[in-house]
Symmetry: C2
Subunit: 540 residues, 2 copies
């Protein structure tokens, strides 16, 4: 045994489980009077917020909740959601954030599958919640959240959140997790490809990805962070923990509304926000007078779907600096970033946006990313052309899927996490997603990246949103079929016109054979549900 | 067993030892062409630097060095020192950075105690090295470093560093550590209080403190970092790893020279540097014409000894923003920071400097700090007045002292690391060091903080440096005795004048009874060796 292993073992002095709980204790101690929470007319400091988290933890403990128990929440982006991110793990319990747009059946499934002992819910979802609860044999304890920003609503139960907090000890001595591998949260995937899976996070990964976020984004101290991203999605990409670690201010937003976003940015001098491309696109399509609200440096992190270069360009023209990241529920949110090179600043806007549309390179807190053959796991050449699947490994990969060892084993086969995303690897090591494994169109033996075709559609001045899917074809196997929503004032754009436009910018076999004008079905995280569109295309 | 523990165990996909080695791989991959190394006329990119590290690792492996072996280096701040911080741990070996100012006997002791298999040394230390090697039964393999910035010098051995690199494979597939608890480096303490101890660091702690540094200092991407701090000191406070993680540029400096520092800051647009108060003080005492070189934002992190408020104020007036941190070899360098509150910016310079002279609060990456009774470990009241010892616990506390289980046990007694530093705890939670446990003066039963008395001495316009120690006294037990160096042009300042000045600013029992004008003995990290002064005071 080496001399460095003798008498130098771990002890309580030098080995403490990594946990994001450490962050709130510190911010409350160091910056007790700084703003932590801004929501409607509510203003709370870090000291107050920490106290509320401790009360929540204490009250839940008082009701018999403890280590390994699931506490589900069905909440929009409101302060209680932030409190749950600390109060629940403070007693070793696991936070399950439910997607607020789901229907009763899906909610009932998750509550049952996750074995929730408690459900904290906003009145807005009263009906869905009651319907879901009606389907359960062992309903959880229901906590009613009455948010003044919602207005009049029917109580979820007779135990109101503030009354629950009142049961708790404001100086509650919460317990550090015994082990950093201990679960901190349970997140169901978006269900873009069909059936959501229950992804389990641990304290170690949450701590690390929180630090990774602030590092790649060079956030500095005390960001003013606007909650445009749903907090139920991958625990808000770990930003409840990141912003808290930096003693920033959380500015809440119950519902995405472009005008409201611009107003809040202006009013609170918001410095940072995250969102899917669709959210940024909504800002871009606001009138110039409204956009003038952005008169100070604002940074947007975008992910969740491939942002069309056109959208990136338009957002940057508004004065918002875009950082493009990529991730999945399975990896705590974003874990790659299109790390910027100063020399790219010299390029024309179009070119810059095209470079920025790439998903990039690993976060410093994720140990490995590669593009490789989905079967053999052999890395593809870095030629910007050969398509492979993106694989990841590292400390911010999930514990696994809850109660689903076979899905976990499949996802981890060969010692790498299989993302299901298809990409090329550029000579500079940057990854660029071309499609999902399940979405790619194979026509006459040739791969067609639906993302590429969508990128062209977005460049048409009449197109507001676009999605391309495979349509079965006798001769070619599959052909691309486009679904398009038009901008106000362009309702008369025709299928032929769109196809002609595509012909100017795409190789023949990539041109959509059909263009359907319609609303696009979306998940509550703003992603287009292509499996729904595939059914429609098939039925055309 | 909870559902969150079933079938969700660690695997190679989701659990990888935390290691700073991850940082250089990433920076070389993502920013291959950015400047990594600036030294005299040498310029190297991140790709080149990474290749050199891999060559070093491969060459050492080729010579039979491997996991758990000690590789010692006796190097000033030159690129080879950076390379050793990655190349050595790449093969699981442990880096022992020797203090370049030590004498042959001390070096021989460390080489023997640390069981070094290899010693990489700069020609400047040829004589000392040969003398030290002569004292050893099993001399290590000697590698000769011939730095062009040193000039002509006698070779240390006939194996030159560049020749060693040439033996190595530039694409060497280095191994990740098996365990993040594995040792990465061995650092002997400064020996300020007498006998240096061998502090062992692990990969986990090095990774975390590297992240902690960039976070508390809000460093952003691509800092230009000037090596004013000795890299052999606590592995340069983990900055070899921090700056690399941020793909910054390391600007090297063989020897601290205030004029050279100002020139380099100007020439390379240096953004960040670290150092002991004494280094900053040297800058302050440069002529105004030289100081005019600082015409862009520069950030200095200061620690190692209590910076007199006067010095902080003067540095900030030069246009350098000071961040005051505190730490010890035992905790990877800095682990507390005087986290700044914006509202303090409004205060007059003096007041600001006084606030900033406090050692502050824990890094987000250190889990606990307290001021408590040295015996009972009972926290002292946060009254800014009661003196206690600083205790720490967390993931950036050392593995322990090498081959010294009793010293380790003593340092960790009661579940906290005993720093040996005495401090008060302010109502706002900030810690302020008053003295070392071994340095405090106890006069007539009253504690006298030597740091407080020194702070007053520094305010006298003729004083360049000052140190106060205890002198045995029949009546009072001890009385304070001051050692002072005078500024050029103030050589005629008298003992009586200094004592009169102290009388204006200190309670009677705190006034030094004797003031001795002399040079101050220092460790090579720039700290005053008070144990030497105590002997002198006793002999007066
Ligand atoms: N920057 C991005 N560019 C392109 N696609 C992205 C980007 N960020 C995320 N995505 C897509 O989102 C997916 C991750 O989304 P999420 O985990 O929310 O659920 P989902 O994969 O949509 O749902 P399910 O796994 O249930 O089908 C990625 O696999 C990828 O396809
Ligand atoms: N910001 C600071 N303010 C006051 N003192 C400081 C500060 N930073 C470091 N120190 C002092 O430096 C000490 C740590 O120094 P280091 O580990 O280099 O060796 P040392 O303690 O001087 O040597 P030895 O332990 O061998 O006596 C701390 O214990 C503290 O006394
Ligand atoms: Mg998915
Ligand atoms: Mg010490």
């Amino acid at each position: 045994m080496s001399i460095f292993e003798q008498g130098l073992s771990r002890s309580e002095v030098n080995h403490i489980p990594l946990s994001p709980l450490s962050f709130i204790e510190r911010s409350a101690a160091v910056h007790p009077n700084r703003p932590a929470v801004i929501h409607g007319s509510i203003r709370r400091t870090w000291a107050e917020t920490y106290t509320r988290c401790r009360r929540l933890a204490s009250a839940l403990a008082g009701r018999g909740i403890g280590k390994g128990d699931t506490v589900a929440v069905m909440l929009p982006n409101i302060p209680q959601m932030l409190e749950a991110h600390f109060g629940v793990p403070m007693i070793g319990a696991v936070l399950n954030t439910l997607n607020v747009r789901l229907d009763a059946e899906a909610i009932a499934f998750m509550l049952q599958h996750g074995e929730a002992k408690v459900l904290i819910a906003d009145r807005e979802y009263q009906e869905v919640i009651h319907a879901a609860i009606g389907m359960l044999d062992h309903p959880p304890l229901l906590i009613d959240v009455d948010d003044p920003e919602y207005g009049e609503g029917l109580p979820i139960s007779d135990l109101e959140y503030e009354a629950l907090l009142a049961e708790g000890d404001p100086a509650f001595a919460w317990q550090w997790p015994d082990d950093e591998w201990q679960a901190i949260s349970l997140n169901y995937t978006s269900g873009t490809t069909g059936n959501p899976k229950g992804v389990v996070y641990h304290h170690r990964g949450a701590y690390l990805n929180a630090l990774g976020n602030q590092m790649v984004w060079a956030m500095g101290n005390h960001p003013v962070y606007l909650w445009t991203l749903p907090m139920f999605h991958c625990n808000g990409w770990c930003y409840p923990w990141t912003v808290t670690a930096l003693a920033g201010a959380h500015v809440f937003l119950r519902r995405v509304d472009p005008q409201k976003i611009l107003t809040l940015i202006h009013e609170h001098r918001v410095t940072h926000l995250c969102g899917a491309p669709i959210v940024l696109n909504a800002l871009v399509n606001m009138p110039d007078s409204a956009k003038a609200a952005i008169d100070h440096p604002v940074h947007a992190m975008v992910a969740g779907a491939a942002p069309p270069a056109k959208v990136i360009g338009a957002v940057e023209e508004m004065g918002i600096k875009v950082t493009h990241v990529y991730g999945l529920t399975e990896v705590y949110g974003p874990v790659t970033v299109c790390a910027w090179h100063e020399e790219w600043d010299e390029l024309p806007l179009d070119e810059r946006a095209r470079i920025k549309a790439r998903q990039g390179v690993r976060y410093p807190t994720l140990e490995g990313v590669m593009v490789a053959d989905p079967q053999t796991l052999e890395p593809v050449p870095r030629d910007g052309d050969t398509i492979g699947e993106i694989f990841m490994r590292g400390n911010t990969v999930m514990k696994g899927y809850l109660k689903n060892p076979s899905a976990t084993a499949e996802a981890f086969e060969g010692g790498w996490f299989h993302t299901g995303d298809l990409a090329v690897w550029h000579p500079d090591g940057y990854v660029e997603i071309k499609d999902r494994l399940k979405d790619i169109v194979i026509s006459g033996g040739e791969n067609i990246s639906t993302i590429e075709v969508e990128g062209v559609l977005y460049r048409h001045h009449g197109v507001l949103e676009a999605a391309v899917v495979a349509r079965p074809d006798e001769k070619w196997g599959e052909t691309p079929c486009a679904f398009v929503t038009l901008k106000a004032g362009h309702e008369r754009t025709s299928e032929a016109e769109i196809i002609a436009f595509c012909r100017e910018h795409l190789a023949g076999f990539k041109i959509p054979r059909r263009v359907v004008f319609s609303e696009l079905p979306k998940t509550s995280t703003g992603k287009i549900q292509k499996y729904v569109l595939r059914d429609r295309a098939r039925a055309l």
